[in-house]
C-alpha cells in the first residue's frame, strides 16, 4: 500500500524518475545558493533576477521555439546583463543596489512580456513562465546536472570569501580584495541556477526551490554548513513529496513541489530548533537556572 503510493509511481513511469533526478540536481545546486541569498538579505534579489531572465528566454523562444539551448543562453545573457548593469549603477551613483536592481528587472520584465506577446500566444508565454518538470528530456536533464555541478564546484572555490562577506564584509575588505569578484561570481551562480530552475519549474517558481529551503534551514541550524545541508535535504524532500502529491492528486507538479516546501516552512516556523515560535514560547528546561 505504502509502496504503491510512494515508490511505484517512480518504478512504473520514466517521466517520474526523470522528474525526480531533475529535482535532486536542482536541489543540490539551488539550495546552497538560496542559503547565501538569505544570509546576505538578498532573498528578494532572487525573485527579481527570475523576472529579469524572462526577456532573454523569450528572445530565445522567439528565435527557435522551445529550444533548450537558445532559451538557456538567452536567459543567462539577460540575467547577467541585469546583474552587471544594476551593479555598475549601484557602485557609481547614489542609487542603492536594491533600487537599481528593481528598476532593471522591471524594465527587463516589461521587455520580455512585450517580446512574447509580439509574436507568441498566451500559451507560449505560459511555457516560459511555467516550465514543466514532467517533460524533462535527456538534453534538459544533462543541462540541469551540468549547471548543478558547475555551481557546486564554483561554490567550493569561493566558499571562504563568500562566507566572510556574508558575516562581515568590512572585515573582508580590509584583508582581501576578493569581495567584489566574489559578489559577481555569486550573482552569476544565482542566474545560472535560476535558468536551471526555469526549465523545470518556470521563471516564476524557479526561485521557490532556492529560497524556501533556505528559509526552512534557518530554523534548524545556526552554522552555515548545517544550514546548507538542511536546505539541500528539505529541497529534495519537497521535490519528492511534491511529485508524489501531483501523482496522487491532480495538482500540477511545479506548484505542488513549492507547496510542499511551504508546508515544511510553516512547520519550521512553528517548531524550529532555532527561534521557532513554539521554542520561544516554551523555552527548553535546560536553559533555566
Amino acid at each position: 500500500m505504502l509502496y504503491d503510493v510512494l515508490i511505484s509511481p517512480f518504478t512504473e513511469f520514466e517521466f517520474m524518475r526523470r522528474a525526480l533526478a531533475g529535482i535532486i540536481a536542482l536541489a543540490l545546486g539551488g539550495a546552497p545558493i538560496g542559503v547565501f541569498l538569505m544570509l546576505r538579505r538578498m532573498s528578494l534579489v532572487g525573485d527579481a533576477m527570475a523576472h529579469a531572465i524572462l526577456p532573454g528566454a523569450a528572445i530565445g523562444f522567439l528565435i527557435s521555439g522551445l529550444n533548450l539551448f537558445a532559451m538557456t543562453f538567452g536567459g543567462l545573457i539577460a540575467g547577467f546583463a541585469v546583474a552587471i548593469l544594476s551593479g555598475i549603477v549601484a557602485r557609481t551613483t547614489e542609487l542603492k543596489e536594491d533600487a537599481s536592481l528593481a528598476t532593471f528587472y522591471l524594465v527587463s520584465l516589461a521587455l520580455g512580456v512585450t517580446i512574447v506577446s509580439m509574436r507568441g500566444t498566451n500559451i507560449d508565454l505560459l511555457h516560459v513562465l511555467f516550465g514543466n518538470i514532467l517533460a524533462l528530456d535527456d538534453q534538459t536533464l544533462l543541462v540541469i546536472a551540468f549547471n548543478a555541478t558547475i555551481t557546486l564546484l564554483v561554490m567550493a572555490v569561493i566558499y571562504r570569501p563568500l562566507v566572510i562577506e556574508c558575516v562581515d564584509p568590512v572585515f573582508l575588505r580590509t584583508v582581501s580584495r576578493s569581495g567584489a569578484p566574489t559578489h559577481l561570481v555569486f550573482l552569476a551562480l544565482v542566474v545560472v541556477n535560476l535558468v536551471n530552475g526555469f526549465h523545470a519549474l518556470g521563471t516564476l517558481l524557479a526561485v521557490g526551490l532556492m529560497i524556501l529551503p533556505a528559509g526552512i534551514a534557518r530554523f534548524w541550524s545556526r552554522d552555515i554548513s548545517g544550514m546548507i545541508a538542511i536546505a539541500v535535504a528539505s529541497a529534495m524532500v519537497s521535490g519528492y513529496a511534491g511529485l508524489v502529491l501531483s501523482f496522487q492528486t491532480k495538482v500540477p507538479s511545479g506548484p505542488a513541489i513549492i507547496l510542499v516546501a511551504a508546508l515544511l516552512y510553516v512547520f519550521s516556523v512553528l517548531f524550529g530548533n532555532v527561534s521557532g515560535l513554539v521554542r520561544q514560547l516554551f523555552p527548553g528546561r535546560h536553559l533555566e537556572a
Binding site: P9, E12, F13, E14, F15, M16, A19, L66, I123, L126, H127, F130, N132, L134, A135, L136, D137, L243, S246, F247, Q248, T249, K250, V251, P252, S253, G254, A256
Partner: protein
Amino acid sequence: MPMHRRALLVALMACAATALRPAYASDKVNVVATFSILADFVRNVGGDRVEVTALVGPGADAHVYTPSPSDAKKIAAAKLVVVNGLGLEGWLPRLVKSSGGTATTLVASSGITPLRPGGGHHAEADPHAWQSVANAKIYVGNIRDALMTADPDGAATYRSNAEQYLARLDALDREVREAVAQIPPERRKVISSHEAFGYFAAAYGIAFVAPQGVSTESEPSARDLATIIRQIRKENIPAVFLENISDPRLVERIAAETGARIGGTLYSDSLTGEKGDAPTYIDMVRHNIRAVSSALKS
C-alpha cells in the same frame, strides 16, 4: 487547369448575358455559409455565379463563435443561408430572424444519418458529419438543389459543377479507403483529444480513442500524464494526436514512454487560410488521412 478555364468561360458568358440584360441589378447570388468548410462546398457548386461569405472564417472555431452586427448585415443581403445543422449553429435561427432578410435557410446535413455518441435516440447528435466524405457528398447534393431553387437560371451550371465536384469527392473517398487499407487492422487506432472525428472513424474504421482525465489545456499533473500513458500502453495505441496538450515537450515525453508515434495536426472544424495545410475541404481530408496513415504505418 481545365476547371479554371471552364469556370472563366462560364463567368464570361454570365457577364455577357448580364450586359445584354440592363435591368439585372446584381449578377451574383449572395450566399452565406456558417463556416469555411460549407463555404468551400458552396464555392465548388456555385462557381462564379455565387458570392460566398463564411461567417466563421478559416482557422476560427464555429463552436464558440458569437455573431457580430456585420454578420447580420451579410445575412440580410443573402439569398441563401447554408448551415450545417445537427446543433452546431445554435445561434443562427435567431440571427436570420433578427437580420430581417428574406434568405432561405438550407440545412446542409439533412439526409445524413447522425451519429449519437451519447447513445439512444434522444442523445445529442455529433455535428461533424462532414468528416466522412460520403456525407460530404450529401451536403453537396443538398447545396446543389438549394442553389438551383434559389437561382433557376443557373441550374445547368450548378448541376454540372456539382457533378464534377462529386466525382472528385468519390476519388477522394477511394483515396482515403486505400490509405486505410494499407494500415494493418490492429494498428488502426489513435489516441486523440479531437471530438470531431466520430464520422471519420465510423466511415473508415480508424478508432479515435479519447484520452481519459485530460480536461483542461492548463498544466497537467503527474497523474494526468500517468493516466494517458497507462491507457496507451494498455490499449496498445500506436499513435497520439494530442494537440490539446499545450506543451509539446509533454507529448514527446508521452511518445517516448509508450513507443507511440506523434501524429501531426488534424483539421476538423475549419479550413486554414490560402497558405495553410488545408485551404479546401479536399485538401483537408487529404491532409488528415496522410497524417493518420503516416503515424500508423508499421
